[in-house]
């Protein structure tokens, strides 16, 4: 019985394994090989030339790359930080108004499942200097017009705002679920002991919500690092390179300059970074139950 079970198990896993082998392992190996070559699609006559670690060495000497990485980190930190803080506040407020929670829940779903492409283009229009609604409202209020996407000092913030807008609802819903799952006893005990709301919040609510805050943080961080079309369609990385995050730069190297070798190297480097980050976030915090499961 056990033997047939084992065979059956392997059989059940086979399709998935095939997918990962064929579409995962094979392209990754290819990517590594290409990253060790000089291969430009716009120069097919030159073909593929083995150049060893040259592409990786270029990465070290590429200030534009490191600027892009810094921007990506900055984007993540601000977007995640703000959406966590805002989400927490809103979840607490929402928790208090149980009676109309349903309405809010439905409303909050919409930004989360609207395509980032749609959101990005919509905000591009809203931010427009001449015709955008935000500037029109500013005008009505007799305030000066603001260049959200054209002013290099501000572009990243405009993009970060869009990300916050889209994903804070998720943080709210996660923390709300957390609040609802908290046991009542500690609160009652604290009230009996005469603790004030601030103390209750800091010493009971927050620590007990830790798991949920961590989940929200990890998910938000992962998603913030994946952002691509939200920025690309709104600013194309501009003005200049003011909003060019790592993903935008990789896309530019690969699909505007068609430098396949360098782009593969960048891709592998990124995967390595993400895996490292993910390992730290996921395994060490155990938010997905994978710690010593």
């Amino acid at each position: 019985m056990a033997a047939t079970n084992k065979k059956l198990l392997l059989l059940l896993m086979l399709p998935a394994a095939l997918v990962f082998l064929g579409l995962g392992v094979y392209p990754t190996v290819e990517a590594i090989l290409i990253s060790l070559s000089k291969y430009e699609l716009t120069n097919p006559a030159a073909g593929r030339l083995f150049v060893g670690l040259a592409n990786y060495k270029s990465m070290l000497a590429d200030p534009r790359l490191w600027a892009a990485i810094v921007r990506a980190m900055w984007f993540m930190v601000v977007s995640v930080g703000v959406s966590l803080a805002l989400g927490l506040l809103l979840a607490l407020l929402l928790y208090r108004v149980r009676w109309c929670q349903g309405f809010f829940r439905i409303v909050f779903i919409v930004p989360m499942v609207t395509a980032p492409a749609v959101v990005s283009l919509n905000f591009k229009f809203m931010y427009n200097y001449d015709f955008g609604i935000i500037n029109r409202i500013l005008e009505v209020l007799h305030l000066p017009r603001f260049d959200f996407l054209g002013n290099p000092a501000v572009t990243m913030w405009s993009a970060i705002f869009v990300d916050i807008w889209q994903w804070t609802p998720l943080v709210v819903l996660v923390l709300l679920a957390g609040l609802e799952s908290l046991p009542k006893e500690p609160f009652e005990a604290a009230l009996i002991d005469g603790a004030n709301p601030r103390q209750i919040f800091l010493h009971i609510t927050l620590p007990m919500l830790k798991k949920f805050v961590l989940v929200a943080a990890v998910i938000r961080m992962m998603d913030a690092l994946k952002v691509y079309e939200t920025i690309q369609l709104m600013t194309a990385g501009g003005p200049g390179t003011a909003s060019e995050t790592l993903n935008l730069y990789i896309a530019r190297v690969g699909f505007t300059w068609f430098d396949m070798g360098y782009c593969s190297a960048l891709g592998i480097f990124t995967l390595y970074l993400i895996t490292l980050l993910a390992w730290l976030l996921v395994r060490r915090t155990g938010v997905f139950g994978t710690k010593g499961d």
Partner: protein
């Protein structure tokens, strides 16, 4: 019943084959009568860039479809997207596009990669008598589309030089002389601003795209400055510093606040809505600005050429053509299409409809209807010969790596316009980056 099924099926099949065969015969009999209908029933996929070159196709493609029975599906995108799609299509050899718009500055890249079909044999053997115009086009305008093998790889559709387009009414109102040099432009902008004019004294392209490189590089040539001198990178030179210093000042102080993200489409929109007094750009724009249907300042504009401290004309060299993709599966039908597009017939329709007034086929200028129609914009059309003569291609970096070089340069200029760095810093960085690109070649 079931046993009879095979027999029924076979009969049906035979009947169908007969009908289809008859239909085909009928068609070929029709075809031998009209060579234009030889490819009737084919669908052509045409990849175009936004702009007035695409307008004619949008408006008049019905004529082509009627005359040939070929269905045309065109896709219009902004330039970077269009180039991207063409390259992705060519590198994957999908042949998703048959006809593609070819901006002259990408020709070196496309030619090196061999993605376009050489046209010489088509011209020699398959010319459509009425539509073909290539033998009338001046050699100079065909040059950008020729490969190192001397073969022609695309037919030019438009060509342009650089002009200053200004608001006659505003200049008259504030009694400012028409600028003849780059210094005049700066002086005029300064005067206008000081006088409190309620429009932007100047609008140009300030965004970091390779398309906007044309403005910066063209302006610089008036000062005798260029990006590449052979294989040498000459960005960090006194002439370029002077040129870009003036240019950045012009856009930053006298242009719209978001000048650093304005590309040609927004620039055009602003000028057409009467929001700017001057615009330096391609000589294709006066046609658009003088079109009453899209411009509110159609009868208020003037055009002039500019010279600079280097004794040369400020340039805006541009040309766009149509080519056939090497991987197209309908090359002959595509050839018919591009001949139609560049024909005198279509040119006539274009100026009648006010789509544009500048053409590469000099025969157009002799057509009586043209002279009639352009009476009101004679100020522009009379200058066309001079404009085309002022075109000096020596400043242009005609290399396959154009896209990277142009972006490396233009993004720095754009940053300087936005004020996030000085012109000197911008040029130093650009020099460095372009050198890297050239040495990597």
């Amino acid at each position: 019943m079931l046993r009879k099924l095979p027999a029924i099926l076979i009969t049906l099949l035979a009947l169908t084959a007969l009908l289809v065969g008859c239909g085909e015969k009928g068609k070929t009999q029709e075809n031998s009568a009209d060579p234009r209908k030889a490819f009737a029933g084919t669908t052509l996929k045409v990849l175009l860039k936004t702009g007035y070159e695409a307008e004619a196709i949008k408006q008049f493609v019905g004529d082509f479809e009627q005359a040939t029975g070929i269905k045309v599906e065109y896709e219009i995108y902004d330039e970077p997207t269009m180039r991207n799609k063409f390259i992705l299509d060519s590198t994957s050899q999908t042949g998703a596009y048959d006809v593609v718009a070819t901006q002259f500055w990408y020709m070196p890249e496309y030619l090196r990669a061999g993605w376009l079909e050489p046209l010489d044999s088509y011209i020699a053997e398959k010319s459509d008598a009425a539509w073909s115009s290539v033998r009338h086009i001046p050699q100079g305008l065909l040059a950008p589309y020729k490969g190192s093998d001397g073969k022609l790889y695309a037919l030019p559709v438009s060509a342009s030089g650089g002009v200053l387009i200004y608001r006659k009414d505003i200049f008259e109102q504030y009694k400012i002389p028409v600028p003849q040099t780059t210094e005049d432009v700066l002086a005029a902008a300064k005067s206008l601003k000081a006088a409190g004019v309620n429009v932007y004294p100047f609008v140009g392209r300030g965004d970091p795209s390779s398309a906007s490189f044309g403005t910066s590089a063209g302006w610089a040539w008036a000062y005798g400055a260029k990006v590449l001198d052979g294989e040498r990178v000459t960005i960090n030179t006194p002439e370029m510093k002077h040129a870009m210093g003036d240019f950045v000042q012009l856009l930053r102080q006298y242009g719209p606040p978001n000048q650093a993200v304005i590309g040609w489409d927004v620039m055009s929109e602003l000028f057409r809505q009467g929001k700017a007094a001057m615009n330096f750009d391609m000589s294709g724009f006066p046609s658009v600005y003088a079109n009453k249907e899209v411009s509110s300042v159609a009868d208020k504009i003037g055009v002039t050429l500019l010279k600079g401290p280097g004794g040369k004309y400020a340039q805006w060299m541009y040309s766009e053509g149509l080519g056939i993709s090497r991987y197209s599966k309908n090359k002959e039908a595509a050839w018919l299409f591009i001949q139609w597009r560049t024909s005198l017939d279509v040119a006539k329709k274009e100026f009648e409809a006010g789509v544009r007034y500048d053409f590469v086929d000099p025969r157009v200028y002799e057509v009586p209807e043209y002279k009639e129609k352009t009476k009101s914009i004679e100020f522009f059309t009379s200058q066309l010969p001079e404009i085309l003569a002022s075109v000096d291609a020596t400043y242009w970096p005609a290399i396959p790596e154009f896209e990277q070089v142009a972006q490396a340069f233009q993004k720095e200029i754009s940053a300087a316009i936005a004020g996030s760095k000085t012109v000197d810093q911008a040029l130093a960085i650009a020099q460095n980056e372009v050198e890297k690109i050239i040495t990597k070649k």
